[in-house]
């Protein structure tokens, strides 16, 4: 499948963002309303939830809603409050060398992926990352040198809370250190289970095991795949090989003294690299986040795309993902 990947920069919410919204909204709208719009919380409750848990984001939210045309559905969608459930796979790990580096694979269906890297300077804070849902992020980095990324936590429970991409955006908009991020992740409710790994320029790191039905667990895990402390959703775990991927990554951390490059390359081959695109869990990209340099890099088996927060160049790439390869048994 062909992905037309874009890197876009816009300091303040404006015409570019409005254009992106127009582009993605029909698909997102269909997805968001697939169980009927009445299945989602109303505008008042959505905005109230934002005000209660991410008050700093409300002015920005209002601004984006305005740019999106101000409709009720758009406003409710953009609040990320209790969205329809979604899953992904993903692996992420912190390189054991001296420099803080977070590497992650994003395993998801190319059909439901925005293929968009967004750099913003909203509210005076420069942030870049892989965009989801127009202002959410599935990984990213800010100008304070804080970087983070998410993996699905492998649990079916859905509850009252926010879609995790907005929580990641919120952390990057308001935090500068891992300790601050940990406090936010422990506090903000998520609507499904996610593992969020955070690292800062001091190389302090944590992984927050977030869930809608229990308190967030802040761990010192350097690796996260698709389960939390124990495998709870056996078929998903088996299908995505989460235990094998975790074991493999832990081996990498402790058995090998290896260069950054070698560590990164391990993400581009099995068992971390997944080609189950037709089943929604193919590795769409590998991201390398370098908090000290304020840089990130997107990687594929044969190419890389460096991105610099302070020297960001808008560009496009065409990425071809392998099609219908179910032979990955």
């Amino acid at each position: 499948m062909q992905l037309n990947w874009r890197a876009i920069s816009e300091d303040h919410p404006g015409p570019k963002w409005a254009g992106l919204f127009r582009h993605y909204w029909p698909d997102y709208h269909r997805w968001w309303a697939r169980e009927g719009a009445e299945a989602r919380p109303g505008y008042l409750d959505s905005r109230k939830a934002l005000r209660a848990h991410m008050p700093e984001m409300v002015p920005l939210y209002d601004q984006l809603v305005e740019l999106a045309g101000g409709t009720d559905h758009a406003a409710r969608f953009l609040s990320f409050y209790c969205p329809p459930p979604y899953l992904s796979a993903c692996s992420q790990a912190i390189w054991p060398g001296k420099e803080p580096v977070l590497v992650r694979n994003y395993d998801y269906s190319p059909k439901a992926f925005d293929s968009l890297t967004l750099r913003t300077n909203w509210q005076g804070r420069a942030v870049m990352g892989t965009s989801d849902g127009l202002w959410g992020l599935v990984d990213g980095i800010n100008d304070a040198g804080l970087a983070l990324s998410l993996t699905f936590g492998g649990r079916r429970v859905v509850g009252d809370g926010f879609g995790v991409p907005l929580i990641l955006r919120y952390v990057l908009q308001t935090c500068e250190t891992t300790a601050e991020a940990g406090r936010v992740l422990a506090r903000v409710p998520t609507h499904m289970s996610y593992n969020v790994t955070v690292i800062d320029a001091q190389r302090k790191f944590l992984t927050a095991l977030m869930a809608p039905d229990r308190k967030t667990i802040i761990t010192h895990q350097a690796v996260a795949t698709n389960h939390q402390e124990r495998v709870e959703w056996a078929s998903h775990a088996r299908f995505t090989a989460t235990v094998e991927r975790e074991r493999y990554l832990l081996q990498r951390l402790t058995l090998h003294v290896e260069s950054k490059e070698k560590f990164i390359k391990a993400f581009l081959r099995p068992p971390l690299y997944s080609s189950r695109f037709d089943q929604g869990f193919g590795t769409i990209y590998t991201a390398v986040l370098r908090p000290r340099q304020r840089q990130m890099e997107l990687r594929w088996p044969h190419a890389s795309w460096p991105l610099d927060l302070h020297d960001f160049r808008e560009d496009t790439r065409v990425i071809y993902t392998p099609e219908g390869d179910a032979a990955t048994e």
Partner: protein
């Protein structure tokens, strides 16, 4: 209840006529290999069939979809819920007795559902004993000293250094978290880079045992705490961290048993300490089989307690097949005796003295062969279980099928137990199999012998894999006509 068993002969007879169905449930039957020949109605229920269906007392249920196993306990809990396993146990009738290598409270619950007794102390007690920090405490009470150490939560490398300065341990350290197998939770830390590699296993993991690193030999000894006293097996050497066998630095990869493995004084001391430790375990409420690792200082011969495994272990097959085990009875038989509620009398001192006699010990070694390359693929060929023969040029060939390790006739033969099955993932650290030879596999200086290396090479040469299928995402240059927005 019938009459009291008064001597070894009666104990042996009792088990040869045993009517209770006893099951060893585990991933493989390796740890208690051969015990079915001492105890009637003793069966193995395994997850992996190392024998291709040719072992008469091993039952392997067909593979069912299951959750990813995160531990041996998970495998056992899967087996206990498998219909074919339940059918087998019901069909054979009687009041089943289960023994395990590892089990947890869920295993206990499932065993109860099946109307079975678990012939081990409760999981909760075992887990408490298995905690390395608890081991130090029990050792101290029993008068069995541990390597100079301190116990502390560790917050950072700086914090670790402060702790060590205060405790006078220096900065060349061995750290262990409370639980875990050697090689997985034992970290050698000399620098900040070492610390970074393991910090995710140290920070936030609670109290850590911080030891001064000493220049030592690893050794293992197994024992069984019975109501009549603690029966002590022989002191074995440990094969540790050989790169031909394991990718884990400091990881256990085999054992040797031979009468002169350590100087007589060290052997005697280790036996005494093990006896004392066993007696203390009984006071703590533990009984049955256990294993101790002793660290023996290369220079001084000082002997320190390394760790306690309150269970059977990977070395149990060595203890239970040495000459003394054939002369009297395998140590594990006394474990079964202890849990059978059968009345027995035993002169433990006499037995222990006899087992201390070098004449009772013949020389064997076992090597646990793992995949040591940093590669992942799918195993296509793996040498099958049986007896292998080495020719004069060092080539290793399959000679005949057997599941008795004592069928190894000479040092030119070896018994190989296949663990990795064709079709399994072969990844760094995956078990390929276990090789048992007569004679030694290490030199007096605790290096692998040339013969040992040839055996490993010979087996590994028969293991082949096919690459994992991989697709490639190849980005091409951007289409210049593609418009943003």
């Amino acid at each position: 209840m019938a009459a009291e068993l008064k001597n070894i002969s009666e104990i042996r007879r009792h088990f040869h006529r045993n009517e209770d169905p006893i099951y060893f449930i585990s991933a493989t039957n390796f740890n208690l290999l051969g015990l079915d020949e001492w105890c009637k109605n003793f069966k193995y229920i395994s997850y992996i069939d190392c024998y291709g269906g040719k072992h008469p007392n091993t039952f392997v249920p067909s593979e069912q979809p299951h959750a990813e196993f995160q531990s041996i306990e998970d495998i056992n809990n899967y087996l206990l819920q498998h219909k074919e396993v339940i059918d087998l146990i019901k069909r054979r009738g009687g009041k089943p007795k289960f023994v395990f290598l590892m089990f947890d409270e869920e295993t206990e619950r499932l065993s109860k559902e099946l109307g079975a007794d678990v012939w081990f102390p409760k999981a909760k007690l075992r887990q408490k004993m298995d905690n390395k920090i608890e081991t130090v405490r029990i050792g101290n009470k029993a008068g069995v000293p541990s390597v100079p150490n301190t116990l502390s939560v560790v917050e950072s490398y700086k914090h670790l250094n402060e702790i060590c300065d205060k405790a006078g341990l220096g900065h060349d350290l061995v750290l262990q978290s409370a639980y875990g197998d050697s090689g997985h939770t034992t970290f050698f830390i000399k620098s900040e880079a070492d610390f970074r590699r393991h910090e995710h296993e140290i920070i936030g993991e609670g109290e850590i045992k911080i030891m001064k690193r000493i220049d030592c030999r690893g050794s293992a000894i197994e024992a069984c705490a019975t109501k009549e006293g603690t029966i002590v097996g022989p002191l074995m050497t440990e094969l540790v961290g050989f790169k031909e066998l394991t990718p884990y630095r400091g990881g256990w990869c085999g054992n040797e048993i031979f009468s002169t493995a350590f100087p007589p004084k060290v052997r005697q001391k280790a036996r005494e300490l093990t006896f004392k430790f066993g007696e203390q375990l009984r006071k703590e409420g533990y009984r049955g089989y256990f294993e101790l690792d002793f660290l023996i200082d290369k220079k001084t011969g000082d002997i320190w307690l390394g760790e306690l495994n309150p269970r059977i272990t990977g070395a149990s097959s060595m203890t239970n097949h040495a000459a003394f085990a054939h002369a009297d009875a395998p140590l594990f038989l006394f474990h079964l005796l202890e849990f059978s509620k059968k009345k027995f009398k035993l002169d433990i001192k006499e037995l222990n003295d006899r087992w201390a006699d070098p004449k009772m010990i013949d020389s064997w070694s076992q090597m646990v062969i793992k995949h040591t390359d940093d590669t992942v693929d799918i195993a296509s060929d793996v040498p099958e279980t049986g007896i292998y023969r080495m020719d004069e040029d060092g080539n290793v060939d399959f000679n005949r099928f057997d599941y008795h390790r004592r069928a190894v006739e000479s040092e030119n033969e070896a018994f190989f137990l296949r663990i990795l099955q064709p079709g399994d993932y072969r990844y760094e650290g995956a078990d390929i199999g276990i090789l048992v030879t007569r004679g030694r596999s290490m030199t007096n200086g605790f290096k692998l012998t040339e013969r040992g290396k040839r055996w490993i090479h010979g087996i590994k040469a028969g293991v082949h894999g096919r690459p994992m299928p991989t697709a490639e995402a190849g980005p091409a240059l951007a289409d210049p006509a593609f418009k943003i927005m």
